[in-house]
Amino acid sequence: MAENRTTGFPNVDATVLGADEIILNMGPQHPSTHGVLRVKLRLDGERITGSECIIGYLHRGVEKIAEHRSYQQFAPYVDRMDYVAAVSNGLGYCEAIEKLLAVEAPPRARVVRTILTELQRIASHLVWLGTHALDIGALTPLFYCFREREEILKIYEKYCGARLTTHAFRIGGLQYETYDGFEQEVKRFCDDFDRRIDEYEALLTTNRIWLERTKGIGILTAEEAIDFGATGPILRASGVKWDIRKALPYAAYDQYDFEIPTGKTGDTYDRYLVRVEEMRQSRRICLQAIENIPTGPIMAKVGKVLKPAPGEVYHSIEAPKGELGYYVVSDGTIQPYRVRVRPPSFINLCAFDKMVRGHLVADVVAIIGTLDIVLGEVDR
């Protein structure tokens, strides 16, 4: 091979490849990149010596669109960012605008929101678990996970008519009352689900291949995780016990008991354990919440035309992927002056290069999976 081949990495110190080094392109059309993520890998044999993520293939200019829609009109758009956790996106947006308007959703709405959002966390983690295991070579969990996820999607469909991009919440509360038998269906799902998680764990937790492929892979220490702005399960797996549901409670989370699982080493296996435990905790929250859903109105008194007083607000929630924040600036008109979305997937992906260096090509697949990114949210 000719010398002086350039690396194609303007940001990597050496711009010239070593004699044994090659550049490998992964994606954007690759089943293991979970969407249109493109990764350029610099390899020394099978080992990764550098990497670069190329993103933006799914950029739709969501933040620009927001500036040209009214506050209510923009609400359905947020569902299209993290489309496997649309309910969480909607909750964050609605609560941010409520904060901007200084209104509060009624207690009944807050509890129903909590239930639906926790179900969404389970559904999102199930997609993650199924695809992550599939990427690593375990085919069975995918079918199990999607079977249970289907139950959750059915609940959504009955509640608001949509399965994925639900637009379940409105600014000020809820549009729809819960349907007859809602509590029973959530309860039936939760009662059943504990046993289901045991099934996934039986397949993976002590599986030797799974351990070999995940232990010690993509380690992120607590300091590194904070430095890279990682939040959610990734931060917790690195040993930082921080969850916005506890630290800065929103919706109705202050009323329920649940634990924040944390890991020790911050490797792929710890992130797996943390997310599995989070599903159990979400189930606990749902069970507590359906015991006692307050009665009363489901909408706060908000106008038909929303004109928040000039000012700005930042509100964030613990989405399945991490901290999902909305920074909204109002200039007193019916359209937001600026909506900034703090996307957990985008910021968690920043640590990718740090995590893959020194690992093998096959581990890249495990690391992309463990980051649990959704490209709709990375690119917005």
Binding site: E63, K64, R170, I226, K307, G332
Partner: protein, 222 residues
């Protein structure tokens, strides 16, 4: 239960702004007049009546701001609370220094977000926004710096690694140049793209027609 939604839908939650006048909380001018009715109606879970104007920014002069002013003097320009959230405006040229101080001395160790807002009519059109969080204090702090178009803003990539991508996005969307950034390139848009879409003077239908034509082979990207 089944009847309730149909009763409530049309009147309470339109998806499009109707021609009705804004009521209750949203309009600030209406706010002082409104508080009484919701309280009198005694709806079980109506929003708490607002006694004072919740939207009025309150000047902030707590210990944190005092300490910052002691260290940086005039570089800490203003501080206020907007909807109970702390905002501190600092001089753009000292941004990185103050950010580092906030991380090391004030324990705001997580850079939650970095973004910008464009106010084209202002002399310094950009607001650079740094959203910080402190695990130790469980508090948020928003640092804000004003920058004119073309003005270089010190990069905080040395302070937080996550700023690398966030500043790239800011550059991509607003054209703000961060001084000291190791790799300031576009991140979401193609590298050859012309223009910065989140600027207010960039129309929502505008695009880099030449790029679209050359790379996608179509007349319009819409």
């Amino acid at each position: 239960m089944a009847d309730e939604p149909s009763e409530k839908q049309p009147e309470k939650q339109p998806d499009k702004p109707a021609e009705t006048k804004p009521s209750a909380a949203p309009a600030s001018e209406a706010a002082p007049a409104r508080p009484a009715p919701p309280a009198a109606a005694a709806k079980p879970a109506a929003p708490p009546p607002k006694k004072e104007d919740p939207f009025k920014p309150v000047a902030l002069d707590n210990d944190l701001v005092k300490r910052l002013k002691e260290c940086f003097g005039d570089a800490v320009c203003e501080a206020w609370l907007d909807r109970k959230q702390a905002i501190v405006v600092v001089a753009a040229e000292k941004l990185a220094e103050i950010a580092r101080h906030c991380r090391d001395e004030e324990k705001f160790n997580l850079l939650t977000d970095l973004t910008a807002v464009d106010w084209p009519k202002r002399e310094k059109r950009f607001d650079i926004i740094l959203n910080l969080y402190s695990f130790a204090k469980n508090e948020r702090l928003r640092l804000k710096a004003h920058a004119a178009g073309g003005e270089k803003v010190p990069s905080v990539t040395e302070v937080w690694s996550t700023a690398n991508w966030l500043e790239r996005e800011c550059y991509d969307m607003f054209g703000i140049v961060f001084d000291g950034h190791p790799d300031l390139r576009r991140i979401l848009l193609p590298e050859e793209w012309q223009g910065h879409p989140l600027r207010k003077d960039y129309d929502i239908l505008q695009q880099d027609t030449a790029w679209v034509k050359e790379n996608l082979g179509i007349e319009s990207g819409q």
